[in-house]
């Protein structure tokens, strides 16, 4: 069942002459782990904003085509109605935490939805536990590291129990270890809780092993859409300047030199085991 479906989606920001996204038609199934990638300024963030109603309600501008999220036509609903279905985690963790303690921040969305206090307590503790930050519940966001802050931001959205979670470059302010942890948390949400994940990311080396659907955008258009191995292995992805995983790139270089691996690897572990097979055979 499709949880997000767009048809010929075109959007122009107010005051802009050129459309930021053009004729985007994609379908995202329930439970998928989608990696959305492409060069900077290609419209990834704009597309994410279309999924929870920030576009067109918050930004204004001109929206054509159709977006349906969790059965709701986006243009016919307010942002807070969509917030029950779609959670959005932003790039800068600092600017999405506004309470004086972690706990209170996680509860913010639930308070807005007027959830009862007992239920709220349960859900807050649950979200803190899944993201592994129970011990930070009393701390102030300012005292936390970037990675911890981003996990709090994820917990904030998770507590609202959305069907879809969109993470817009959640690791760009983090070091590789922090990023790795965030990816593991996101993967758990997807695999254990069945939440559909849309991850906007440049660091494909780390992120792509979790994905089962990759969408590549360029200049406002979707240029590649499909399962990861096929997308990463295509010539087009490399030419656009997508950071194709090094394992996949290695596969291609070996191929050019006449060495065929069994299948397209995405992670270095995969590449290593495939190489081992080849070496043994020789």
């Amino acid at each position: 069942m499709a949880v997000i479906k767009t048809r010929d989606l075109t959007y122009t920001y107010p005051g802009a002459t050129k459309a930021s996204i053009k004729d985007v038609s994609i379908t995202i199934e329930k439970g998928e782990f989608v990696v959305l990638t492409g060069p900077s300024g290609c419209g990834k963030t704009t597309l994410c904003r279309c999924f929870n109603g920030l576009i067109p309600l918050f930004y204004g501008g001109k929206l054509e085509g159709e977006v349906v999220v969790a059965g709701c036509k986006v243009v016919e609903h307010s942002i807070y109605e969509l917030a029950r279905h779609v959670g959005l985690v932003f790039q800068n963790p600092e600017n999405q935490l506004f309470a004086l303690s972690v706990e209170k921040d996680v509860a913010f969305g639930l308070e807005n939805l007027a959830v009862s206090r007992d239920e709220m307590r349960k859900r807050v503790d649950w979200a803190l536990q899944i993201t592994g930050i129970e011990d930070l519940s009393e701390r102030s966001p300012h005292e936390l590291s970037g990675g911890q802050q981003q996990r709090v931001a994820i917990a904030c959205v998770l507590a609202m129990q959305p069907d879809v979670m969109i993470l817009d470059e959640p690791t760009s302010f983090l070091d590789p270890v922090g990023a790795q942890k965030i990816f593991e948390v996101i993967n758990e949400l997807n695999k254990e809780l069945g939440i559909t994940v849309i991850l906007v990311e440049h660091r494909l080396d780390l992120a792509s092993k979790y994905a089962n659907h990759v969408i590549v955008m360029d200049e406002g258009k979707v240029v590649l859409d499909g399962e990861p191995r096929g997308v990463f292995n295509s010539e087009k992805a490399r030419l656009i300047g997508v950071g194709v995983p090094k394992a996949t790139r290695l596969y291609q270089i070996l191929g050019e030199n006449g060495i065929r691996l069994g299948r397209v690897p995405v992670t270095s572990e995969e590449a290593a085991s495939l190489l081992r097979e080849v070496l043994k055979r020789d």
Binding site: N52, L54, L57, F58, I79, Y80, E81, A83, R84, G87, L88, F90, N92, E94, N95, Q96, L97, F98, A99, L100, S101, E103, K104, A107, F108, G109, L110, E111, N112, L113, A114, V115, S116, R117, M120, R121, V124, E138, S140, P141, H142, C156, V157, M160
Partner: protein, 264 residues
Amino acid sequence: MSMFEGFRFRRVSSVIHRLDPRVKFFFVCVLFVTAILFSKLPPLILLFFVPLPFVLAAGVQREWIRSMRGALFFAVIIFLFNFVFTYFSTQYPQLPSASLLERSLAMTLRFLVLVESFSVFFLTTSPDHLGLALEQSHVPYEFCFAFTTAVRFVPVLADEAQTIMDAQKARGLELERGNFLKRVRNYIPILIPLIVGAIRRSLELAEAMESRAWGASEKRTNLYVLKLKNADYLLAFGSVLMLIFAVYVWRYVPVPTLITLLRL
């Protein structure tokens, strides 16, 4: 930045910190009213000592002394104004009398009591608690939210200001150069990026708020709730008693000045 240190609330817990902020505020108001009622020195001296046990119990002596030291400058001005102006307008050719000295001292002490009681309140109430108290006193939520968010972002903006200052200094900006006016003008290249950054930040904040169902329901709920405990009732009761006693003394008992007391 030391300038912002005062705004940074340290999370401490004590009997006093745990008191309900509404009751604490009521107590401070009673102190305030009592200080206004009396203009003689002896009751004001007594009043000065009333908040001291709270300071000690909360363990905020050092911060308290710092805030009192800050008030000292104004206290000296108030004393001089009272003393000099009254002296020249009433007793001028003669030497100033002891009662004039006492009256000026009383005015100064009254000011110190006011500062003292408010500093005790703010030193022992977390902004979190204060926001909650505002909310439960039916202040519109937008204001409470603006208040707690402002407190939340003070250290963030302080860090940002420091970064901008370093960046501008690295480009050759000299902050400590020239006369007073020049120095003030030196800060313009710091202020503009700071303000622009803050506006950008507020846009991102607004986006994050919208995405988390801001404004979804008329009557929002709250994770915490303030409940009056025994200690709160005790303080409230004590404050009422004190108020009644103060009004009674003010109305019916002739309060002696320190000079007449000493003469006895």
